[in-house]
C-alpha cells in the first residue's frame, strides 16, 4: 500500500467508527424514547443542582509540573528522529544527546529545588 492509501484507510476507520456509533444511536432511538420527567436531567450532584456554577476557573494545582512538561515534551519531538539514526552515528550521538538531556535534567533538578514538583 502506498502512503496515501494507508492514510485513506485510517480516515475510513474514523468514518466507520462514527457510522457505527450513529447506527447504535438510531437503534436505541427506534426502540424507545426518553420520558421527560422533572428533575431527571439534574447532573449527579446529590440529587439537586449544585449551588455554584460549574464552568468556572479551575485551580490547576499541577501547573508547576505542567510547565516542566512543556519543556520535556518539546525535547521528545527531537528525540524520535535521533533514536532512529542512533545506531548509525554511534557514541557521538549519545554524547550529543547526553549534553542536551543533561542540561534539561539539571533544569528538572533546579525546578525540584525551587519547589516546582509540588502540588501548589
Amino acid at each position: 500500500m502506498s502512503m496515501l492509501q494507508q492514510y485513506g484507510v485510517l480516515f475510513g476507520l474514523i468514518i466507520g467508527a462514527f457510522g457505527f456509533v450513529v447506527c447504535l444511536f438510531v437503534i436505541t432511538r427506534i426502540s424507545g424514547r426518553i420520558r421527560q420527567e422533572p428533575g431527571k436531567d439534574v447532573p449527579a450532584t446529590a440529587g439537586q443542582l449544585s449551588r455554584d456554577p460549574v464552568w468556572v476557573r479551575y485551580h490547576a494545582r499541577y501547573y508547576g509540573y505542567a510547565l516542566l512538561f512543556l519543556a520535556f515534551d518539546m525535547e521528545m519531538a527531537y528525540m524520535y528522529p535521533w533514536a532512529v539514526v542512533y545506531k548509525e552515528v554511534g557514541i557521538v550521538a549519545l554524547l550529543d544527546m547526553g549534553v542536551f538531556l543533561l542540561i534539561l535534567f539539571l533544569g528538572l533538578l533546579y525546578g525540584w529545588s525551587q519547589g516546582a514538583l509540588r502540588r501548589q
Binding site: 484507510v9 467508527a17 456509533v21 447504535l24 509540573y65 516542566l68 542512533y86 538531556l101
Partner: protein, 298 residues
C-alpha cells in the same frame, strides 16, 4: 480485508477483556455478562443533563473510541495482520493516544456537572504525570530497532525480547499505560466512590455504552502496544503468530487488571510527584543504558 479481520480480532479481544474484567472485579466468571450489560445499556434511557455543552457531550465517547481505534491500527498482530504499517508507527500511536486526554476533558466539561468537571481536569494532571513515561521508553525501543515502524520493532526483538533487554523501560511503560487507560490504581478521572464515577457520571444508556466500549478498546490497544514494544509481538514457537499475539495481549491485560485489584487508588499529588521525581530520571537512565548497550554490543 485485513482491516476487517483485525477489527474482528480486536472485537473478540475486547469481549474477552470485558469478561476478564468482570471476573477479576466481581469474582464471578460469566461468559455472557458483557453481552447482557451491553444490551441492558442500549435498552436504557440516555439522559442528557440540563444546559450541557452539547457538542462536547456528544462527541466525547466517539473521540475516545476513534482515538483507541486509530492507535490499534498501527499494532501488528502478525507480519501481515496490521491495518496500516506506517513508517512512523510508534509516533502515530502516541499522536492517536493524545486524543484520549481530549476525549476525557470533553466528557468532563460537556455535561456541566461538578464531578465530571473535576474528573476531567484531574485527568489533565494525570497526563502530565504519565505522558513522559510513555514516550521515553518508546524512544529506547526505537533506538534498538532503528525504526519507528511497529513491524520493524517486533523484528528487532527476534534475538532477545525488549523486556529482558530494557526491563526498566518495560516497567515504566507498563505502569504509564495503566495510567493512560485509567485502570484502577490510576483511575483518577473515574474514581468510583470518591467522584461518583467522575467523567462517566452524567453518561447513561447508549452514550455510556460507547464510552465503555472506547475504554475497553483502549485497554486492549495498550496491552497490544506493550506486547509489540517489549514482549516480542507475534514471535513464539510452534503456534501461529496471531495466536501468540492474542495470548500475550490477554496475559498483559490480565496482569494490568490484577495489579489494580490489589493496589489502592493513588492520589493525584503522589502520582505526579512519583512520576517526576522517580519515573523521569529512571526513564532517562533507561535511554542511557540502552545507548551504552547498543554501542558496546553491536
Amino acid at each position: 480485508m485485513t482491516t476487517l479481520l483485525v477489527l474482528l480480532l480486536l472485537a473478540m479481544g475486547v469481549y474477552c477483556v470485558a469478561v476478564l474484567e468482570a471476573w477479576i472485579t466481581s469474582g464471578r466468571f460469566r461468559l455472557m455478562a458483557p453481552a447482557c450489560s451491553a444490551i441492558a445499556l442500549l435498552g436504557r434511557e440516555s439522559v442528557v443533563p440540563r444546559k450541557p455543552d452539547l457538542l462536547f457531550f456528544e462527541m466525547a465517547p466517539i473521540v475516545l473510541l476513534v482515538a483507541a481505534l486509530l492507535a490499534a491500527a498501527v499494532i501488528p498482530l502478525s507480519p501481515d495482520l496490521i491495518i496500516t504499517d506506517l513508517a512512523t508507527g510508534a509516533l502515530f500511536l502516541n499522536a492517536a493516544l493524545a486524543y484520549v486526554l481530549v476525549a476525557l476533558i470533553m466528557a468532563g466539561w460537556g455535561p456541566n456537572g461538578a464531578y465530571a468537571m473535576i474528573g476531567g481536569w484531574r485527568f489533565l494532571g494525570q497526563l502530565v504525570a504519565y505522558a513522559m513515561l510513555i514516550v521515553m521508553p518508546i524512544t529506547a525501543v526505537a533506538m534498538r530497532a532503528e525504526s519507528l515502524a511497529t513491524t520493524d520493532i517486533v523484528i528487532s526483538q527476534s534475538g532477545l525480547w525488549n523486556v529482558f533487554y530494557q526491563p526498566l523501560g518495560f516497567v515504566l511503560f507498563f505502569l504509564a499505560a495503566m495510567g493512560l487507560a485509567f485502570l484502577p490504581p490510576f483511575d483518577l478521572p473515574i474514581a468510583k466512590g470518591e467522584l461518583a464515577s467522575g467523567v462517566e457520571a452524567e453518561y447513561s444508556g447508549v452514550r455510556l455504552a460507547v464510552f465503555r466500549l472506547g475504554r475497553m478498546v483502549l485497554i486492549v490497544t495498550l496491552a497490544a502496544a506493550t506486547v509489540t514494544f517489549y514482549l516480542g509481538g507475534w514471535q513464539g514457537p510452534s503456534l501461529p503468530p496471531w495466536l501468540w499475539s492474542a495470548i500475550k495481549i490477554l496475559l498483559v491485560t490480565a496482569a494490568m487488571l490484577l495489579v489494580g485489584r490489589y493496589v489502592p487508588r493513588i492520589r493525584e499529588a503522589h502520582l505526579l510527584a512519583w512520576c517526576w521525581k522517580f519515573g523521569i530520571p529512571l526513564a532517562l537512565l533507561n535511554i542511557f543504558i540502552v545507548g551504552i548497550l547498543l554501542v558496546v554490543i553491536p
